[in-house]
Symmetry: C3
Subunit: 137 residues, 3 copies
């Protein structure tokens, strides 16, 4: 047994972009039998979670994050560095960069309406790496 490491790339747009990466993760998983996946997004303005990936729920999550850390508030990070992405750092820290998902017979054990998403909160388009690691059974 040994952990195997895979890497996805995801192109994101500015603002709070929430992208469904389930198809790419499922493609990796399909060759892997049983075990678990550890997922991680490097970067301090992005996060990973799961959601029902339909337009309504995704916009409801964005609205909740806007209430929690409004984009246009004054942030100390922006005063110090002029980045304009203080809201993004706060949102990313609250959601967190890591996730684990179990695997059976090469299939992700997600719920029927549950998808894996990368949330990119930064205020400019980015290309994000997502690191996917397989812990075999």
């Amino acid at each position: 047994m040994a952990i195997k490491t895979f890497r996805l790339q995801v192109a994101t747009s500015a603002g709070t972009d929430i992208i469904n990466i389930t198809p790419q993760v499922a493609r990796i998983a399909s060759g892997l039998g049983d075990g678990a996946l550890l997922l991680f997004v490097p970067g301090s303005t992005a996060a990973l979670t799961t959601i029902e990936y339909e337009k309504g729920a995704v916009s409801d999550l964005k609205a909740a994050l806007e209430r929690l850390a409004p984009r246009d508030m004054a942030y100390a990070h922006d005063s110090r560095w002029g980045d304009g992405n203080g809201y993004a750092h706060v949102r990313a820290a609250l959601l967190g960069p890591s996730l684990s998902v179990p695997l059976a017979d090469g299939k992700l054990l997600l719920g029927a309406w549950q998808q894996i998403v990368v949330c990119d909160f930064d205020n400019r388009p980015r290309t994000r790496d997502v690191i996917v690691q397989h812990l075999p059974a």
Copy 2:
């Protein structure tokens, strides 16, 4: 070494039900020696976290979630699908479906007042699976 996968079932009630699954997880752990557990709840309206499982702290968490994603707000998810559980999707995405807990000598390395909980936010009773995977030392 190989990952072993276990499954718990938890009956939940409608609304925001927060259930202590530490006894069931501890029972699984008791046979397992050292290592770590990965926990995952399938479904887009449930989440896992830890809390001091006493009535006060649990109701304080519910109140905070109600401020963050009020049950009776208008949700785009509900407008599109009529499910009435838009709040549940937002709460679940913010808390996240996965958790890891270290294990020593068959015991969970939790704090003295720290319990593992499933949060079911859905607006109807459910039976939830929780997947528990053991990574051995």
Copy 3:
């Protein structure tokens, strides 16, 4: 292959103390080659996440947590137990106690501006253990 378990100790101050533990975690990682780390903080008033560890972003995160679960609100936990740390339990449950970080050639695969932090929300100074487990490749 076998999981190896390490333990860090972190002295914290009262209130919401956010401490950068990346140097200590990187020191552990430096001897470990490839794989992944699982991190866990025992205790119901502390949490783990990542953030750009600079004064501005850290104070922005504290301000968001203060909006989410204000320190001076009435908490049912405090009414029942008189602990005065109801806000701490809510904040810890929302952020969560666990995190995973991938490792390549003994280096943490964090973003350039991303640091691992312990958040101690308790209302008195503590010494926190952080458990770091290595899953080897």
